[in-house]
């Protein structure tokens, strides 16, 4: 097995191969476009014969996420992937993962909705991923890949963060990233943890109770409200630590920017081009790409808001992340939204027009 290979891969394929290389213990999924290649690639690779990774096609998304719940509860690195309707069906299970403080990886390759919607790319599940989705006061660590290389690299990042904090993590991709092919360097091979290593590293895991310790119980249930409040506050305190330490964003030509674009995922990739085009027209545009959608890079945005005259948030939805950008901006400058819906993806020129017209509006005043 070679350590590093450069391959031309779809985002979904890169994610699957990276999971095997990471030493993932189990994948449980149910087919849905535009992410079925994840399960198909894993089945074709048959990692159960090499690394011992379990791969299963579940009978439904609720079954798949509950398989993930079971695997996570015994300290394994387990994951699932889906899109729109399937992710909605998984929400109860995701909430249980959060409540029982279990690390796991959920991948949403977004398509347009609501309902059965469309199989074309979209970013309309931002609210669902970032604001809760399931019931109760909880958070997911949400990573937004902007290309195929990120799909490969974020597997280990997501698992590492999930296990460090015992919080489920989500990779929030979209159909474009799942389907497009790019050259990608797959991450190095890591071996799966042994049973003994799991029992040692994750003393909370349900792996069979030896005489030397008391029993491990993975549950989210607590009927005593005082205890439940203490548990919930402890979780919130952990979320605060994640916000302080794990917020990630990427800036493109923001140092001298007088107007700011904010975009995530595939949108952030396309609009680097917009920034270049605007600068040719004499408007010093900069781009900020949140890499973690939760924790959200509020401070990075707030800092830039001090130097620009306006902000344009570009998303493949009707205006979701824009709410978090407005909170970060605190009313200091106008924050507008430009979006396309239903699976339509805009061109860099289209965004250039939107940016220039906002620029003119703001600077005419």
């Amino acid at each position: 097995m070679t350590e590093q290979t450069a391959d031309l891969l779809k985002g979904n394929e890169a994610l699957a191969l990276a999971a095997i290389r990471y030493g993932c213990d189990g994948y449980f999924g149910y087919p849905i476009t535009p992410q079925s290649e994840v399960l198909e690639t894993l089945m074709a690779e048959a990692p159960w014969e090499t690394t011992g990774m379990v791969v299963m096609q579940a009978e439904s998304e609720p079954a798949a996420i509950n398989m993930v719940y079971g695997g996570a509860a015994c300290g394994r690195r387990v994951m699932t992937s889906s899109s729109g309707p399937g992710i909605s069906l998984k929400q109860e299970g995701i909430s249980y993962l959060a409540g029982a403080e279990l690390p796991a990886l959920i991948v949403n390759v977004m398509r347009g909705g609501p309902g059965l919607g469309t199989i074309q790319p979209s970013q309309a599940d931002y609210f669902q991923a970032v604001k809760g989705g399931g019931h109760g006061d909880y958070r997911l660590i949400v990573l937004a890949p902007a290309g195929v290389q990120d799909m490969a690299d974020f597997v280990s990042l997501a698992f590492d963060l999930a296990f460090a904090y015992r919080v489920p993590a989500m990779i929030l991709a979209d159909g474009a990233i799942g389907q497009m092919m790019e050259k990608v360097t797959l991450p190095p091979w890591r071996r799966r943890l042994t049973d003994a290593e799991i029992a040692e590293r994750y003393p909370w895991a349900a792996v069979g109770k030896p005489a030397s310790r008391s029993r491990n119980v993975l549950t989210s249930l607590e009927l005593d409200q005082a205890v439940m409040e203490r548990k919930s506050l402890a979780l919130q305190e952990r979320y605060a630590r994640i916000e302080a330490a794990e917020t990630r964003s990427e800036a493109y030509l923001t140092d001298d920017a007088e107007m700011l674009l904010v975009a995530f995922g595939s949108a952030a990739r396309i609009y680097r081009k917009t920034v270049d085009l605007a600068r040719q027209r004499g408007v010093r545009l900069g781009l900020l790409r949140p890499v973690t959608l939760w924790p959200f890079p509020t401070q990075a945005i707030a800092r830039l808001v001090g130097q620009v005259t306006s902000v344009l948030v570009v998303e493949l939805n009707a205006g979701q992340m824009v709410e978090d950008v407005r909170l970060a901006a605190g009313g200091r400058v106008p924050v507008e939204h430009y979006g396309r819906l239903g699976g339509v993806v805009f061109s860099p020129d289209e965004i250039l027009e939107a940016a220039l017209s906002q620029w003119n509006k703001t600077n005419r005043k």
Partner: protein, 230 residues
């Protein structure tokens, strides 16, 4: 047959009954007459007698038995309503040497969890399912379950279950029996000492079946819910 008096037994120091070592000291929350307590004890006894404490992973469900993890001293995972067989599937596949079993009520297993039950059994997952059928939703206060007999009054069938309104009672084990993945199946009662002993034997055989990798083992225990009977 001559009966031995308790005094004689005490004097001779013979052990006729002992506390089940795998049952914890926690005070059980079950109503008087509830069969969950009996079945918990049988599960704990079998685990103890088979020496499985260190090798067992139990999957609890949502229903009156949700706190089973407080009573039986092994590692537990508390599953969401109906999904215990899916949870158990992954736990067993990732820990093939362990005894993995679920403990579920009839609402959990035969209503909301029907798909997970059928598919785990159909795949022949090497898990055991302890299925306590009290023909009612106990925990939520006595609503109709899929297993509720015709004519039986519950809080959601106050006139008695009517097939035209609510359909017929579901005997899910009759469906499961036909699946090739099922390696062991038994239906038992826990209403008399003799029946309790045969129920315990069935639980033991179910655990043996799943440890031997012979497919899914299902033990249905016909139980009583005195509190919620109209």
């Amino acid at each position: 047959m001559k009966r031995t008096s308790t005094d004689t037994i005490r004097r001779e120091g013979r052990v006729v009954h002992r506390r089940t070592p795998l049952l914890t000291d926690a005070h059980m929350h079950y109503c008087p007459g509830c069969n969950h307590a009996t079945v918990h004890r049988l599960v704990a006894e079998v685990l103890d007698e088979m020496g499985l404490q260190a090798d067992a992973i139990g999957i609890g469900s949502v229903g009156c038995s949700v706190f089973i993890y407080n009573y039986i001293d092994i590692d537990w995972i508390q599953a969401s309503h109906g999904r215990a067989p899916a949870v158990a599937t992954a736990v067993k596949r990732l820990n093939p040497s362990r005894l993995v079993f679920t403990y579920q009520g009839d609402g959990d297993l035969a209503a909301i969890g029907t798909a997970e039950t059928i598919h785990a059994c159909n795949r022949g997952e090497n898990i055991a399912i302890i299925y306590v059928n009290n023909s009612i939703y106990g925990m939520t206060g006595g609503q109709m379950a899929p297993t509720t007999p015709l004519g039986m009054r519950t809080s959601t069938t106050p006139q008695g279950r009517d097939a035209r309104l609510h359909g017929y009672p579901l005997d899910i084990c009759r469906l499961l029996r036909r699946l090739s993945g099922v390696g062991f199946m038994a239906r038992r009662r826990v209403d008399t000492p003799r029946h309790i002993r045969t129920a315990k034997q069935a639980i033991r055989e179910a655990f043996e079946c799943s440890l031997a990798g012979r497919g899914t083992a299902v033990v249905e225990i016909m139980a009583e819910c005195l509190t919620n009977k109209f």
